[in-house]
């Protein structure tokens, strides 16, 4: 296998530009999850929301031939699952960890059923890709230009959305409420902030972001759907929140580390020559998971857990002290 095909002068730009592209689905989900966790909810259903968003956007784009509608469908299903998580975790107050796992199992089962029911036994259905848009002037910057400014429109929207949600959390009144109910729900409640309402909204946002992540993965990059296409990206998003110390901009940065390992393993698989290859492609395939694990553990070990929202994972019931 020729490593020049991956790291050579011409190939490196391709690798880096697909790194940032592959970071986006995870980045969206991770920034959304940051909002949710800052509100005090540990949502482990991200993987299910991302996967459902991927299928919904694929189906709509496939049948309606519209990328925009597909993306909206992805967001909508994510918001729906966010509402389910909110109903279980906020309204019923059941154990959040279990709720999250349940949502992942639910999404895996339903998406597998739906996809097999519609396309079972047929050839792998695909949808057309979307064209890259060169941003005038910026894309001519040597090095950076081709990596960041020759992407498709979903990429630009994703970046804008991730930054907007990050600012929502850090710079707005609503963001302040979110952080208050996550840090000390009883105090927020005493200050007339509705804990339930704020957590519901946070989960709707988090679900929508994860759903959009699924849409970007399918519509912007893979152009197809397959069973469990999300491949753990939702779980990686949860890990990245820890790595990013619950700070949305750091979380966004962490997503690019993941994006690089993901793009690298995809390139290695592509040029290695399949199952006869002597290259241990599995090591590269494991890289996104291993690197995510290592950075998450390292962040926890060295920086401690002081950045974690005070009430993370604890259900809040008005009038019942914790």
């Amino acid at each position: 296998m020729d490593w020049g095909e991956i790291f050579g002068p011409g190939a490196l730009v391709v690798l880096l530009s697909s790194s940032v592209a592959f970071a986006m689905p995870t980045a969206l989900a991770a920034v959304g999850e940051t909002v949710v966790e800052r509100a005090g909810i540990l949502n482990l259903g991200v993987e299910g929301m991302l996967l459902s968003g991927a299928l919904a956007s694929f189906l709509v784009a496939y049948y309606a031939k519209s990328v925009a509608l597909g993306a909206l469908a992805g967001i909508a299903i994510g918001v729906g699952l966010g509402a389910l998580m909110a109903f279980l975790s906020v309204t019923l107050g059941t154990e959040q960890i279990i709720n999250g796992i349940a949502i992942v199992l639910l999404a895996q089962g339903i998406t597998a059923f739906t996809f097999e029911e519609l396309f079972g036994g047929e050839e792998q259905p695909t949808i057309g890709g979307i064209a890259d848009v060169d941003i005038p002037l910026l894309h001519e910057i040597p090095g950076v230009g081709p990596v960041l400014f020759e992407q498709n429109v979903l990429f630009y929207i994703s970046v804008a959305l991730a930054i907007a949600v990050a600012l929502l959390l850090t710079r707005t009144r609503f963001g302040l409420s979110v952080r208050a109910v996550g840090e000390s729900p009883a105090a927020a409640d005493a200050a007339a902030v509705s804990v339930a309402r704020t957590r519901w909204l946070a989960l709707l946002i988090g679900g929508g972001m994860a759903g959009m992540g699924g849409a970007v993965l399918v519509l912007g990059q893979l152009n197809l759907f397959e069973t469990n296409v999300s491949a753990g990206r939702g779980w990686i998003a949860v890990a990245l929140v820890i790595f990013g110390r619950w700070n949305p901009l750091l979380v966004l940065g962490g997503a690019f580390v993941f994006g690089f390992t993901d793009a690298l393993q995809i390139r290695v698989q592509a040029v290695s020559g399949g199952i006869a290859s002597t290259v241990p492609t599995e090591i590269f395939a494991a890289l996104p998971y291993v690197v995510t694990l290592i950075v998450m553990v390292a962040a926890t070990v060295w920086a401690g857990r002081d950045a974690q929202p005070g009430a993370l994972g604890a259900p809040f019931r008005k009038g019942v002290s914790a």
């Binding site: 796992i101 089962g109 990686i236």
Partner: protein, 350 residues
Amino acid sequence: MSVSQAATRPLWLPPQSRRLRAGLSSLGAVLLSLVVGGVLVLIAGGEPVSAYGALIDGAFGSPYAIGQMLVLAVPLLIMGLGLALAFRGRVYNVGAEGQLFMGALAGGVVAIFLPVAFDPLLIAASIFAGMAAGAAWGGIVGVLRARWGVNEVITSLLLNFVAILIFTYCVRRPLRAPGSPDLQGRSIDPNAALPVLPDLAVHVGVFLAIALVPLAAYLMARTPFGMRVRMLGFNAEAARAAGVSSRRMVMALMLISGGLAGLAGVLQTLGVSERLDLGISQGYGFTAIVVALLGRLNATGVLLAAVFIAVLQSGGQAMSVTEGLPYAIVLAIPGVFVVFLLIADRLARG
């Protein structure tokens, strides 16, 4: 339990019947899920009554069908017991799938290469290796959580991918069946294959799985260890105040649940595939979570739940063939199930 919680309990349920309520809510969730399954059958263009008939027939129609159902129940039961124990102590191990594959790999390697002619010894060594590997894989998660407080759900889940990729690499390169054109791992030493019961075609691992049920029940209800697990589950802070080392318990629960998942993996290798095979688990490590929850984290409950899910999936496979329906219907039901279960459970608690 606080006064306000006691006051909001539904009046139609006497306080003594906690077990009854738990059982009823499980049953309610089962019935609702079966209704949803029927709707999925309708969507797929089938006929629910005959589909469920075909499912029951597929699980119980012949000794062989019953055997196939039991073969599927074995890993679900073994892993379900381990997960039930861990979940009781609020250690949320979702890495059973990876622990199963590490167990299958280590146990399989012993069963391929260990030059022992005496069958029971070879089988015992293989099972031991598999359990140790599963426990070690779970132990990584345990150390990270116990030592540094790293969330075990995320680490155990991510390690699933790593374990499966390690297994894939092994069957693709060093442990590939000689001359095999595709991903086919080496066969185990025939002496290491588990004896199989006549007619039912069930490997003897089924007895081991059943024997684990009273053992787990005893461990949970009658030993100081079980007491500590329950204390941690009930109120972690109070348990720590009473001198329970939560670090040690996290470690112990990860080792036990990992070891049992490893055991499930070895039994699949020695009793079902008789080779290193990626097909030994169709996400059973995740289905076992459903089994543990449906079984109310209680050994007898887990036994019933494992058989129920095995009937559903094994019978469902037969159903999908005879009724021409997508097998994924059966895969969709467990997820639906857990959600209903959570809601039913919460409503029953009041």
